[in-house]
C-alpha cells in the first residue's frame, strides 16, 4: 500500500469531520432564475436499466425546454436538475429524497420511482410535503405523489384484459384458458392479482401460474411448464430482461402453442430485437405475440413518431424503449406544471399537477392516450390504457389495439 | 558446513531461541537434545527458513543464508524431515516422493534418486501406489526420510524420527541414519531419546529454555550433570 496509516487516518477523519460539519455550513440560496428539480433514480444496482435508459431522454427534453426559453410564466427561469442515486434500494430512495428536499432545496421531485420506491418515499413526502412526479409507479399513496406509470388495476390489468377479450370476441381467436406468465416482483404480482380476477370474470379459465424468477439467467424451465399446461393465452407483466429470457426460451423450445400477450418492456421494447438477435427475434416476436406499450412508432400519433425520431436522430440515443418515452413525457408534464403554477410554492405546484392536461393531439403528448393525459383524484392517470402491437419481420411494430390507433387487424394464430 | 551465530528467533516479539550458536562439519552427525519446549523445533525451523530470525546469522557452506526463503534453502540442500512426518496423506507414496524432489536442483535427477530411495526402503517399493495416509507410522517415517533424500539433501535435519515408533522400527530407522552417514551425508538429529542420540551422534548440543546449556563430544555431554538437569527440564 502506498498510503500510510497516518495519512489514511487524517483523510478518514477529514471525511468524517466534513460530514459532521456539513449541515452547519449553509449553502447560499439558489439563484432566482433557476428552478431546481431533484431527480432520484436507480442509477446503480439491480434496477439500473430503467433509469439509465430514461435519464438521457429526460435530460434532453429539459435541455430543450431551457434552450427554448425556459419556463416563460416564471420569467424564463431555467430548470436545473439535481441528480441522486438510490442504488435500487427503496429505503435509499427515501434518504436521497430527504437530502434533495432539505439540503439541495429542490422545488420538485421526480425520478424512476418504481412502486416499492414510491411506498418507501411516501412517509418522507407526507412529512416534507414535496410535490413529486414518479415516472413509473403503478400507485400513489402520498397526497404529494403523482405518477405517469400505468395503474396496476385500470392500467396494466385492464388493458391486458380488454385486449384478450377483444381477441376472443371481436377477432374470434379461440381463447378459453390462460396461464399467468409474469415477472415475479412487486409490480408483476400486483398486476397479476387484478388481471387474474378480471379474466376469470370474463369467463377465461386460469389453468396455472408461471412466475418468472427475476434473478434467473434462463427461463427455459418456466417455458417448459407453460408448454405442458398448453394454455390458449399466456398473459402478464414482464420486465425487459425477463422478456428477453422468456422469448429466448420460447425459441429454444420452438413453442408456438399459445398466444403470448403482455407488457410492457418485455414484449414491446424496440431494443428486444437487438437483445435477442435478428434470427430469434424473427422466429418468436412475429408469431403469436402481442405486446402492450404506451408508444409505438407505428401508431397514428404524429407527436409520438416525432419524439422517437428526435430522440434517435437529434439526441442520438441508442436505446429508445418505454423508459426513454416515459421520461421524455415526464419532462413535458413538469414543464406544464411549472408554466401553469401560480407560483413556485408547494401548494401552487400541487394544484398545477391536479390541473395538468395534455390533450390528445397535443405535440407534447408522447404516450398513446386517446383521452389525453390528466391526473385523476387518486393522482394516477385518468387514462391508464395502453396499445397493443404486433411485430413485423422487418422489426417494425403495427398497432392492433385499440381501434383509435390500430393500423391493422391482429395477425391470426400461426 | 553449517554455522549458526548468536541466533535469536521468536514469535510475536517474544524470543524463543535466545542467542544460540552451533556448528556442524561436513559428514558429521550432530545431536540436538532438550526437553519439550526447549526450542529444538524452533531452531530446526529457523534453519529451514520457516521463521525469520530476530538477530544472528546462519551460514551454510560458507554462504550467508540468513535471509534466504525456505525454497532457496531447499535448493542449496538444507532439508528437514519434520516432526510427526507430515507426509501428504491423500497422495500416493510415489507422489510424495516426487514432491520431495520438486526443487529445481533435484527435479531432473528424480528417477535416479527414486531408485536410490526405493533400494534403501524396499518396503516403500511395495507400497508405491498406496495413499500415504494409510501407511503405518514407521512406514510414514521411511517415506518422510525418503522424500527428504529425493531433494538431494546435503544437510539432513531429522526432527524426532523415533517419535511414536516401535523399538524395532526405531532401530531400523537409526540403522538407516548410520548408513546415510556412512554415505557421507551431514545430519542434524533432534531427539528426545537421549541415549540413542548420544550413541549415534558424534557431537551434541543440549538446549535449555532457548539457550545452549551443554555442548561437546557425545561422551562428554553424556557425563555432564547439566545434561540430565536440562533434559528433565528442572
Amino acid at each position: 500500500m502506498t498510503i500510510t496509516r497516518r495519512e489514511f487516518a487524517v483523510g478518514a477523519s477529514g471525511v468524517l469531520l466534513g460530514s459532521v460539519a456539513a449541515p452547519f455550513v449553509r449553502r447560499a440560496g439558489a439563484a432566482d432564475s433557476t428552478i431546481r428539480i431533484g431527480v432520484v433514480n436507480s442509477m446503480s444496482g439491480g434496477l439500473a436499466a430503467y433509469a439509465q435508459e430514461g435519464q438521457p431522454a429526460f435530460e434532453y427534453i429539459i435541455k430543450k425546454i431551457n434552450a427554448e426559453g425556459g419556463i416563460k410564466s416564471k420569467g424564463g427561469a431555467k430548470i436545473e436538475l439535481i441528480q441522486a442515486d438510490d442504488t435500487s434500494q427503496p429505503a435509499r430512495t427515501a434518504t436521497e429524497a430527504r437530502r434533495l428536499i432539505t439540503e439541495e432545496k429542490v422545488q420538485l421531485l421526480t425520478g424512476t420511482i418504481l412502486s416499492a420506491q414510491m411506498l418507501a418515499l411516501t412517509p418522507v413526502l407526507d412529512e416534507l410535503k414535496m410535490p413529486t412526479l414518479s415516472v413509473w409507479a403503478g400507485g400513489a399513496r402520498s397526497n404529494y405523489m403523482f405518477t405517469l406509470g400505468y395503474p396496476y388495476d385500470r392500467g396494466y390489468a385492464q388493458s391486458m384484459h380488454d385486449f384478450v377479450v377483444f381477441l376472443r370476441d371481436s377477432e374470434k381467436f379461440n381463447i378459453k384458458t390462460a396461464v399467468m406468465g409474469y415477472s415475479n416482483y412487486e409490480a408483476g404480482q400486483q398486476v397479476n392479482k387484478f388481471l387474474h380476477e378480471k379474466l376469470k370474470a370474463s369467463g377465461i379459465e386460469i389453468i396455472g401460474e408461471a412466475p418468472l424468477d427475476i434473478k434467473a439467467q434462463d427461463q427455459t424451465s418456466a417455458m417448459v411448464r407453460i408448454r405442458s399446461l398448453k394454455p390458449d393465452v399466456v398473459v402478464g407483466l414482464v420486465t425487459p430482461r425477463d422478456g428477453i429470457l422468456l422469448h429466448q426460451a420460447r425459441y429454444n423450445l420452438n413453442y408456438h402453442g399459445s398466444i403470448f400477450c403482455g407488457g410492457t418492456g418485455g414484449y414491446s421494447d424496440l431494443s428486444l430485437w437487438k437483445d435477442l438477435g435478428p434470427e430469434i427475434g424473427k422466429a418468436v416476436l412475429t408469431k403469436n405475440l402481442f405486446g402492450m406499450t404506451g408508444f409505438s412508432a407505428g401508431a397514428k400519433v404524429d407527436s409520438m413518431q416525432k419524439i422517437i425520431t428526435e430522440l434517435r436522430d437529434v439526441a442520438k440515443l441508442d436505446r429508445i424503449g418505454q423508459g426513454a418515452i416515459q421520461y421524455a413525457q415526464a419532462g413535458r408534464v413538469l414543464q406544464q406544471v411549472l408554466e401553469t403554477s401560480a407560483s413556485l410554492e408547494r401548494d401552487a405546484l400541487l394544484d398545477a399537477f391536479k390541473k395538468v392536461n395534455i390533450p390528445f393531439g397535443d405535440p407534447n403528448l408522447y404516450v398513446a392516450k386517446p383521452k389525453g393525459l390528466q391526473f385523476a383524484e387518486d393522482r394516477l392517470l385518468v387514462d391508464g390504457s395502453a396499445m397493443f402491437i404486433q411485430w413485423t419481420p422487418d422489426q417494425q411494430q403495427q398497432v392492433v389495439f385499440p381501434k383509435e390507433f390500430a393500423q391493422t387487424a391482429p395477425r391470426p394464430r400461426a | 558446513m553449517l554455522e549458526v551465530d548468536h541466533l535469536v528467533t521468536g514469535y510475536g516479539g517474544v524470543p524463543v531461541l535466545q542467542d544460540v550458536s552451533l556448528t556442524l562439519s561436513a559428514g558429521e552427525i550432530v545431536g540436538l537434545l532438550g526437553a519439550n519446549n526447549a526450542g529444538k523445533t524452533t531452531l530446526i525451523n529457523s534453519l529451514s527458513g520457516m521463521y525469520a530470525p530476530m538477530s544472528g546469522r546462519i551460514r551454510f557452506e560458507g554462504q550467508d543464508v540468513t535471509a534466504m526463503t525456505p525454497k532457496q534453502r531447499v535448493e542449496i540442500g538444507i532439508i528437514q524431515v519434520p516432526e510427526g512426518r507430515l507426509v501428504f496423506p491423500e497422495m500416493s507414496v510415489r507422489e510424495n516422493l516426487l514432491l520431495g524432489g520438486i526443487n529445481a536442483r533435484a527435479r531432473t535427477h528424480r528417477p535416479r534418486q527414486m531408485d536410490h530411495v526405493l533400494e534403501l526402503f524396499p518396503r516403500l517399493q511395495e507400497r508405491l501406489g498406496q495413499k500415504a495416509g494409510t501407511l503405518s507410522g514407521g512406514e510414514q517415517q521411511m517415506l518422510a526420510i525418503g522424500r527428504a533424500l529425493m531433494a538431494e539433501a546435503k544437510l539432513l535435519m531429522l526432527d524426532e524420527p523415533s517419535l511414536g515408533l516401535s523399538p524395532l522400527f526405531v532401530q531400523y530407522i537409526f540403522g538407516i541414519i548410520d548408513r546415510l552417514h556412512a554415505e557421507g551425508l551431514s545430519i542434524l538429529l533432534i531427539e528426545q531419546n537421549l541415549n540413542l542420540t548420544l550413541r549415534h551422534a558424534q557431537r551434541c548440543y543440549v538446549l535449555e529454555r532457548g539457550k545452549v546449556a551443554v555442548e561437546g563430544a557425545s561422551d562428554v555431554v553424556k557425563d555432564d550433570p547439566r545434561t540430565r538437569r536440562a533434559y528433565l527440564g528442572l
Binding site: L16, E103, Y185 | -
Partner: protein, 330 residues
C-alpha cells in the same frame, strides 16, 4: 466480573452521550438526523449480531430472518389483523427467538463446521426472501406500508425524526450494554471458550448446546425488536431490504471491520461505515453511476488491509501508544 459491567454502566461517558443526544438532534437538519438514526440502527443490529458472530464465533447469515420477522410480521399483524404493534413486537421477538433456538440446535445436533454453518444460514436467508416474496400475508414482493407515524406511543408510534432517534439510541445502547454484560458474565466466558476450542470446552464439561442456544436466542430476539423499531421508522416494510441477505452481509461487514467479539467493535464499525456510505452516495450519487459504491469498496479494502484485526483494536493500539497507562482495559 460483574463489577466491570457496573463500572461501564456508571461511566461518565453515558452522561456525555445523553447530553449530546438531548442537545444535538433538534439542531440537526432532517437529512443528517436521518443518517444519525440509520447509524444507530446499524450500531444496534451489528452489536446484536456480535453476540453470536463475534463472541460465539458462529457466523450466522440467517439474522435477516430475525430482522425480517420483527419488521414484516409485526407490520402484517397490525395491517391484516389489527394487532397492536407493541404486541406484534413481542410476538415477532418470540418467534425469532424460537427460530434462533432451532438454528442453534441444528448447528449443535449436526456438528456443523464454521463454513457449513455460514452457508446453511445463507441458504436460510435466501429461503426467507423467497417465502416472503410469495406470501401475501406478509405483503409479497410489494411489501407493506404502515400508517403514518403520528406519535401515538401506545400504538408504537414515536413521531418520526427525534422520536425515532431516541428509540434507536435506547436500542443501540441497550444492544451494546447487553454485549458488555455478556462479555463480563459466565455466558461470555463460555461462549469464548466454545469459539476458541469447542472440543476443549466439551472436554471440561461446558454445556455447549445451552450456551449456543442462549446466545442465538438473545441475539435473535434483539435483532427482531430492532427490526420492528426500524420498520416503524421506515414506515415501508420492504422485503428486499429487511429480509434479504444483503442487510445481514452489511451488518457482518460493519461488525468485522469494527472489531469482532469486542463490546464496542461492531458499534464502532457501523458508526464509521454507515455515514461514510451515505455521505459518499449523497455527494457522488448524481455523478458517474456506481462511483460512490466503487470508492466505498476501495475504502473497505484499504481499511481491512490496514487493520486486519478490526479498526477498534487498531485505534486502541494508537491510543495506548499515546497514553500507555490507559492500555490495560479491554
Amino acid at each position: 466480573m460483574r463489577q466491570e459491567f457496573y463500572k461501564t454502566l456508571m461511566s461518565p461517558v453515558w452522561l456525555v452521550i445523553l447530553v449530546l443526544a438531548a442537545v444535538l438532534p433538534p439542531l440537526l437538519p432532517s437529512y443528517y438526523l436521518h443518517i444519525v438514526i440509520l447509524s444507530l440502527v446499524y450500531v444496534a443490529l451489528a452489536s446484536a449480531w456480535n453476540i453470536v458472530g463475534g463472541m460465539a464465533g458462529q457466523i450466522s447469515l440467517a439474522h435477516s430472518l430475525f430482522i425480517g420477522t420483527g419488521a414484516m410480521l409485526s407490520t402484517a399483524l397490525l395491517l391484516k389483523l389489527g394487532v397492536n404493534m407493541w404486541l406484534g413486537l413481542v410476538i415477532s421477538a418470540v418467534i425469532s427467538g424460537a427460530m434462533g433456538a432451532m438454528i442453534a440446535w441444528i448447528d449443535f445436533r449436526f456438528q456443523l463446521g464454521h463454513l457449513s454453518f455460514v452457508l446453511i444460514t445463507l441458504a436460510f436467508a435466501e429461503m426467507g426472501t423467497v417465502i416472503v416474496e410469495g406470501w401475501d400475508f406478509l405483503g409479497g414482493a410489494s411489501g407493506l406500508l404502515l400508517p403514518q407515524d403520528k406519535g401515538d406511543f401506545l400504538a408504537f408510534q414515536f413521531g418520526g425524526g427525534i422520536g425515532a432517534f431516541w428509540v434507536m439510541l435506547v436500542l443501540a445502547i441497550a444492544s451494546i450494554l447487553i454485549n458488555v454484560a455478556i462479555l463480563n458474565a459466565p455466558l461470555g466466558y463460555y461462549l469464548r471458550t466454545i469459539r476458541d476450542n469447542e472440543n476443549a470446552a466439551r472436554a471440561i464439561g461446558v454445556n455447549i448446546l445451552r450456551y449456543k442456544v442462549a446466545a442465538m436466542v438473545i441475539s435473535a430476539m434483539l435483532s427482531s425488536v430492532i427490526g420492528t423499531a426500524y420498520v416503524r421508522y421506515l414506515t415501508f416494510a420492504d422485503p428486499y431490504l429487511l429480509v434479504s441477505p444483503i442487510i445481514i452481509i452489511e451488518i457482518v461487514l460493519f461488525a468485522t471491520v469494527g472489531g469482532l467479539g469486542r463490546a464496542y467493535g461492531p458499534a464502532f464499525g457501523a458508526l464509521l461505515l454507515v455515514p461514510l456510505g451515505e455521505i459518499l452516495r449523497g455527494k457522488l450519487g448524481g455523478t458517474l453511476p456506481g462511483l460512490h459504491y466503487f470508492i466505498y469498496g476501495v475504502v473497505v479494502i484499504a481499511v481491512i488491509l490496514m487493520s486486519p484485526r478490526g479498526l477498534l483494536p487498531l485505534f486502541e493500539k494508537w491510543f495506548s501508544r499515546a497514553r500507555p497507562k490507559a492500555a490495560t482495559t479491554k
